[in-house]
Symmetry: C3
Subunit: 320 residues, 3 copies
């Protein structure tokens, strides 16, 4: 696979936080903060991406991530093509390349791709023209780098430092691209990560990634500074992995009872969309400890930052 960064350290693609340095991550977060506007403030409007064309290739339905990339692009002045993709996986590889080459021939500069299968973002990085960038908007259970970035930005903005910070990521770890991307981002920035879930959904292999694995949520719930509750992805889970929703909520949900045992200033996160009453109680999701909507605001800012950085690196490449 080609590198995500160029020889000068500029961001060329973004498909996994795994391959980024702490400096690269920090520079994305810094730029994101400059673009961030909270609800009630006028949105940032710039021309940094004037003349740039971005194609949203979504093989998996998504309202919020797609809207976020769409607005991020347009608020920086880019043209966006939202393409409905056929997902018949057998012919996808070949058809996909012809689609990509066709869009490149129309001066498309950035491809944003979301896919329920693994491998396409890496495949694209290896095939796009040198001046073209690929950004993953979610790849199977493997990676969701902009989600990882928005989560670490949200934590950084709330806590200021990662050293000594204990972050629990809770739920269906095995099937979660959010968990993996968070883990990579948090480890790079120096936080301690505790993965929490039932043995069927939290294989021991995750320990090799530098995380503590815990099957008993209650054993750590009072010690952590941040709790990131994953969405129960009913569409991905095999029934053998997941006995009953009620049992899951009892053992791994952030219920009112369990929340009462948390630190007073625990910071609660969720990537959305939430299954209220299953992995998280509504009063907690909407309560003062919740950073859930701030995550959405940061998500837009992070995507603006990533788009700016890759198109800037591209411009550098073209100048050389």
């Amino acid at each position: 696979m080609r590198s995500q960064t160029d020889s000068a350290g500029g961001l060329r693609h973004l498909i996994s936080l795994d391959g980024l340095t702490r400096e690269a991550i920090t520079s994305i977060l810094d730029r994101a903060e400059s673009y961030r506007r909270f609800p009630g403030q006028p949105a940032y409007e710039g021309r940094e991406l004037a003349g740039v064309t971005l194609a949203n290739l979504f093989f998996e339905p998504s309202t919020r991530t797609r809207a976020s990339f769409d607005l991020a692009s347009r608020r920086l002045g880019a043209h966006v093509l939202n393409l409905e993709m056929q997902s018949s996986s057998r012919v996808k590889g070949e058809t996909m390349l012809d689609t990509i080459y066709t869009l490149e021939a129309m001066n498309t500069d950035i491809f944003v791709i979301r896919d329920s299968e693994a491998g396409m973002p890496e495949f694209l990085i290896d095939h796009v023209a040198p001046h073209v960038s690929v950004i993953s908007a979610g790849e199977a259970h493997v990676s969701h780098p902009t989600q990882g970035l928005l989560d670490v930005l949200t934590i950084r903005a709330h806590r200021r430092r990662f050293a000594g910070l204990k972050v629990a990521i809770v739920g269906d770890i095995a099937n979660s691209r959010v968990a993996r991307s968070n883990l990579w981002g948090l480890k790079k920035l120096g936080a301690e990560v505790i993965l929490v879930g039932p043995p069927t959904l939290l294989p021991r292999a995750f320990e090799s990634l530098g995380a503590r694995c815990v099957h008993d949520f209650d054993s750590i719930v009072s010690q952590v500074d941040v709790i990131n509750m994953l969405r129960v992805q009913f569409e991905r889970i095999r029934t053998s992995q997941f006995p009953s929703v009620r049992e899951f909520t009892r053992l791994f949900g952030l219920t009112t009872e369990r929340f009462a045992r948390c630190k007073k200033d625990v910071f609660v996160m969720h990537p959305g969309p939430m299954n209220r009453g299953i992995e998280i109680g509504s009063n907690i999701a909407d309560g003062p400890n919740s950073g859930i909507l701030t995550q959405v605001t940061n998500g837009l800012a992070v995507r603006m930052a990533v788009l700016y950085l890759v198109s800037n690196a591209t411009a550098e490449t073209q100048r050389r």
Copy 2:
């Protein structure tokens, strides 16, 4: 329900003409006239909504109203998100709020909502952030305020005064949001409204809204100045209410024969899309007395005016 106007009288939301004063309606119409451009003229292009993001939430299919809001927004410089909404009504309330909060967190300023069920626009007004506006683009059989406004604008532009003006609204009154919104708008501006339809589709209750109810179209057809023919909404009507299309056309259609008994300068309107040959004859729809396409032009102008006014009131709110 929160008010549609703020303490200074500025338009904050628009979900029903019922709650607007004559002054509020007049100020929308005046602004709409400043934005209106007729076919063959260059469209108005402005930056009044630069930096504003609008989300079109259409739970009901609509080509023309959606296109109208879409163009209205973009011709004033706003960004538009067109979202395909799932309409499974059971979970809609809760899911809807999370969607709204998510879009607010991405700095969405205006929500335009169209729904075949009643209640959602009011529900949203009660839940959106103080700086956010809600505009109804059609709510069940209850309300369609921008249609009401474009209709009164079309009549005003054609007749200049409402006092003494007799307006017949004809057809399926019971199921018509267009009829209700027209009635409110016309009464506020001083016109006399005659509702016309079969007893099954025109309950006596409408008299309490200040309209004359008539079941025999021919008894008033020669006396009215304006005839607004409603679309027969086959998708809404229960068969028990509506005996046969042929019978309906014979009794309530604006046929060539009936039109011959109208005043020479009668003004004919229809909200579209028309069932030609059912509620209105093609020669009349396309004839010199028809204001049907002018209604479309005025619809775009009215939507621009409403968008301008709510975003202006929002800016005032933010400044305070």
Copy 3:
């Protein structure tokens, strides 16, 4: 049918190359070259169509042609409405006109229409307002003028002259709007056109259009300067016309073996999307003789040129 050009020779509509003079075609190609940017160059961004609204009416699915018109419009500053059209053909004529008049009443200036049935573009030209333009983006098997233009532009840019140039168009001629539009364009510019296909897919009637018709590809393959391979349109072909895919490839495919007998500098084209391994071998499609992606780049430029020219002629009309 109204003319595609106005009295001053300005382009008013574009539905068939058949009705254009060599000068009209040349002026489109010249302007297209001024808009063309190759991948890696910043896309052209202009304001020539500021204030113009274009509606894409696609009755037939199309990713690339639609994206091409969409980007062409936006890179010149127009607003684009992408409308999903119902294709129930029985009511289409009447409904279509009401849709067109409605969009005209919203100040739509240009209609781009793609339809699997014949006749609609001509029907529209006869009904739109005098200041409105109609552009065909593909009409049944009849016409695809922007494809014809992009193909002749691609040949002109590669070969500089048409006199003495032998161009073979190969495959399912009978069902191909691409073949017809190429034929008209190439004849006007002075090239020699050889149509190649099995008797069932290449009726003798084509000879009356000024083309040589050949049923044995191998008999001419070594003599031609340009080979334009048509897409096998499985969705259009009746089985009686087309015995087997394997047989087709053997007799009419541009295989490695057949390509070896071509002129060294033969120029290979294909309108896309390709059936790789059926009408064209992958190594040839991606090889040094291929102009296939250049066609895509030229397609965008040609559409920008056509949009510019029709809106300019419209402005002239309005000034007069």
